[in-house]
């Protein structure tokens, strides 16, 4: 009896080991390696040389950092606020109406595209003399000669627009789930009290959707802070690093310039920023809810 009690957990280690190995090899090891490289100079060929905080001081002195941080913030704010607001609007307007599903479906289709696919399509549309310029020209609207992907900061703004096109559908879907799951009693009671339209939404529906909104915004914040694929494929962060975001700065330094140590320092900085923003946002939201409760 004692024997079987001892062997069972020991054999359990063997079952756990592959999973632990995968986590260690695919998650912990790369993170620790990145952390190590962040304090070293390493070109991928010669042995890594310890340089203390030099990579981080260099990052702070890099003139391109300000543009990269500004663009990352534009992505975090614009890439979160616009798709979330539009998603909410679509969900609320289509909720409970006949054929609402057909109204929402087209917004969901772009979500099937990969980030790179999205970038290729919108790069074609937004390039100088591209489809967007043609449409503006045909409609007699201003902007027919605008070089959308070349001028700063509108190149970042139009890429956020493309991202919104893809993201709004899934946000609408999430809000639909939220709308379907909120209790109907308070809404019915408010209606009996004469509330409808904006007042009903503002004072009843919106507060009941708040937990879901917190999650949607939190996920969106993290996604936009690490934006890479659409920017890299569309402009490669250019021209002249004008549309660069922190994830592109990291890739560019590590894999294009072969400065893996410096690229790792950018990756660590990005991790800290994304972690701090997400933690700060969620903590604020959750403590506000606890306070309200």
């Amino acid at each position: 009896m004692a024997r079987s009690r001892t062997l069972a957990p020991r054999s359990g280690f063997g079952f756990v080991a592959p999973a632990v190995l995968l986590v260690a090899a695919l998650l912990y090891a790369p993170f620790l390696w990145t952390l190590y490289l962040g304090f070293h100079e390493y070109d991928g060929l010669r042995p890594a040389e310890f340089i203390g905080l030099d990579n981080f001081t260099r990052l702070l002195e890099d003139p391109a950092l300000a543009t990269s941080v500004r663009n990352t913030l534009m992505w975090a704010v614009g890439g979160t606020a616009i798709p979330v607001a539009l998603g909410l609007l679509i969900a609320v307007l289509s909720y409970g109406i006949r054929g609402g599903t057909w109204y929402r479906l087209p917004f969901l289709l772009p979500y099937a595209l990969s980030g790179a696919g999205l970038a290729v399509i919108w790069g074609f549309i937004l390039q100088s003399g591209g489809a967007f310029n043609d449409v503006l020209g045909a409609l007699g609207l201003p902007g027919a000669d605008t070089r959308f992907l070349l001028e700063d900061p509108q190149n970042t703004l139009v890429m956020i627009m493309a991202f919104t096109w893809q993201q709004v559908g899934v946000n609408a879907l999430l809000f639909m789930v939220g709308l379907q799951s909120i209790p109907q009693e308070p809404i019915e009671a408010a209606r009996l009290d004469g509330a409808s339209g904006w007042r009903l939404f503002r004072h009843i529906t919106w507060p009941l959707l708040a937990p879901l909104t917190t999650v949607v915004i939190g996920l969106s914040l993290v996604a936009t802070l690490k934006t890479f694929d659409i920017v890299w494929v569309t402009t490669q962060g250019g021209p002249g690093r004008s549309s660069e975001v922190l994830a592109v700065t990291m890739y560019r330094n590590a894999f294009v310039a072969h400065e893996y140590g410096y690229g790792s320092a950018v990756a660590l900085a990005l991790t800290v920023v994304a972690g701090a923003v997400s933690f700060g946002y969620l903590r604020r939201q959750l403590s506000a809810k606890r306070g309200a409760a």
Partner: protein, 446 residues
């Protein structure tokens, strides 16, 4: 609460966890056991991952890793020919993303996953890996190939490091101006023999509402810098690549000013137009574009006929240099590692690669020139370019992309990309490149 001191009690604790009963703590020694299991698993995996191909074995099939994924069909054709001629087939493993490819090759230097053959870049990139001692020397191959006329002395410097040769030429290309022949014929224009002629042609095209030259802000943003630089002051061009001159040198500033004036005169296409450049040339959206002779493949893929629909000419010097025209040249190496899995077979393949039969198929299938002067180039225009480039009328200079260290190149490509969009701010851009230049060479000297 204390941890159970023995394995039996630990086991009880874990069993409690499994049943959802009280198990507040994971025993300390459990971590050690998981660690042992981890290491054991890693050792098993590492053993499985050992390269089974090396260690002095033999093979009749080699894998050629390359960053030229678009050339797969051409590689395969050559692989079939090598199977027939030397009993060694070759399978291409193509990458299309340069950074990913370079990272893989550099990682292979320290792992057991090693390519039999691989493509690389000449210049600083080749110097870097040769100095790590991981690349097989090919001095004997070069000596023999030059003696029997399969390679030339003019190519040798691009493959020579500290007096020894490494790798062989995968491809060679001269940078020339491609032009739409129909537009030239309609306007009565002839390929230029001087820089003034070229500017006159550009003026005529602008007067007729045709954009003279192709321009881009991505990757090939360096093309006009290298052309104007080498055509104005080739010694300064070389000095920049060796880190002995500054990007704020008056000679560099003059080149940027000239480039800016050309942009201001409307000589260049919109750098944000991402239409295929060959399609732009075919449609007449632009009349000319500077590319390596490899661009000939793109032109024929657009169903344009060489000599009829389009032609090529050497770009004249901006400043005459002793009746010699500076020509930018690129050659991509085909390399093997010192500890390649099948060393003998890989070396035998490189020896075969430079022979006329291999080169004739390789060059003519792609519609490009060859490093082997014995090869008859099927395209008359290309043949003419190749023959002329071998004369004393032309001096070859390494393309900016290979001549410049990676960190400096990265900064320069960004700066030139910004310049073609907003040409007024070139002084600050040159200072940015110079900063990268100083940083790199300070580290290299150290």
């Amino acid at each position: 609460m204390t941890y159970p001191p023995t394995g039996e009690k630990e086991g009880t604790a874990i069993m409690r966890m499994g049943t959802g009963k009280s198990a507040d703590h994971v025993p300390k020694s459990m971590i050690g056991r998981v660690g042992v299991a981890l290491v054991a698993t890693m050792l098993v995996l590492a053993a499985c991952g050992e390269d089974g191909g090396g260690g002095g074995g033999t093979t009749d099939n080699l894998k050629l890793y390359n960053d030229k994924g678009a050339w797969e069909e051409f590689f395969r054709e050559v692989g079939e020919l090598s199977q027939e001629e030397i009993g060694l087939s070759m399978e291409p493993v193509g990458y299309t993303d340069e950074p990913t490819y370079e990272a893989f090759i550099m990682a292979s230097f320290r792992t057991n996953v090693k390519p039999d053959l691989f493509t690389w870049s000449t210049g600083h990139r080749l110097n870097e890996i040769v100095r790590e001692g991981v690349i097989a020397e090919t001095t004997d191959l070069w000596t023999e190939a030059i003696a029997n006329g399969d390679l030339t002395e003019s190519l040798k410097p691009y493959y020579t490091i500290d007096g020894k040769q490494y790798c062989v030429p995968l491809n060679t290309a001269y940078w020339v101006m491609f032009y739409n022949k129909q537009i030239f014929d309609e306007l009565g224009l002839q390929p230029p023999s001087t820089w003034e002629d070229l500017i006159s042609i550009a003026d005529t095209l602008v007067e007729n509402g045709i954009t003279p030259f192709y321009h881009t802000a991505v990757l090939f943003s360096f093309v006009w810098f290298q052309q104007l630089m080498v055509g104005s002051d080739p010694a300064l061009y070389n000095a920049l690549s060796e880190g002995t001159a500054s990007y704020t040198d008056p000679g560099v500033v003059a080149v940027m000013e000239e480039w800016k004036q050309m942009i201001d005169k409307g000589y260049f296409s919109d750098p944000g137009d991402e239409t295929d450049p060959a399609a732009q040339l075919k449609s007449g959206k632009v009349a000319m574009g500077a590319w390596g002779t490899w661009f000939n493949t793109s032109m024929t893929q657009q169903e344009m006929t060489p000599g009829e629909d389009y032609g090529m000419f050497f770009i004249p010097n901006r400043v005459p240099q002793n009746n010699q025209t500076a020509v930018l040249f690129e050659s991509g190496p085909l390399c093997m590692l010192e500890d390649a899995p099948y060393r003998d077979e890989s070396m035998r393949y490189l020896e075969w690669w430079v022979t006329p039969s291999a080169q004739e198929l390789w060059s003519n299938s792609r519609g490009d020139v060859s490093g082997n002067p014995k090869v008859e180039i099927a395209d008359p225009g290309l043949n003419e370019i190749t023959q002329a480039a071998g004369t004393d009328d032309y001096v070859l200079y390494n393309r900016y992309f290979e001549a410049t260290p990676a960190p400096v190149l990265t900064a320069a490509l960004d700066a030139f990309g910004a310049f073609v969009v907003n040409p007024d701010e070139y002084h600050s851009l040159l200072e940015t490149i110079q900063q990268a230049n100083e940083d790199y060479w300070a580290g290299a000297d150290g």
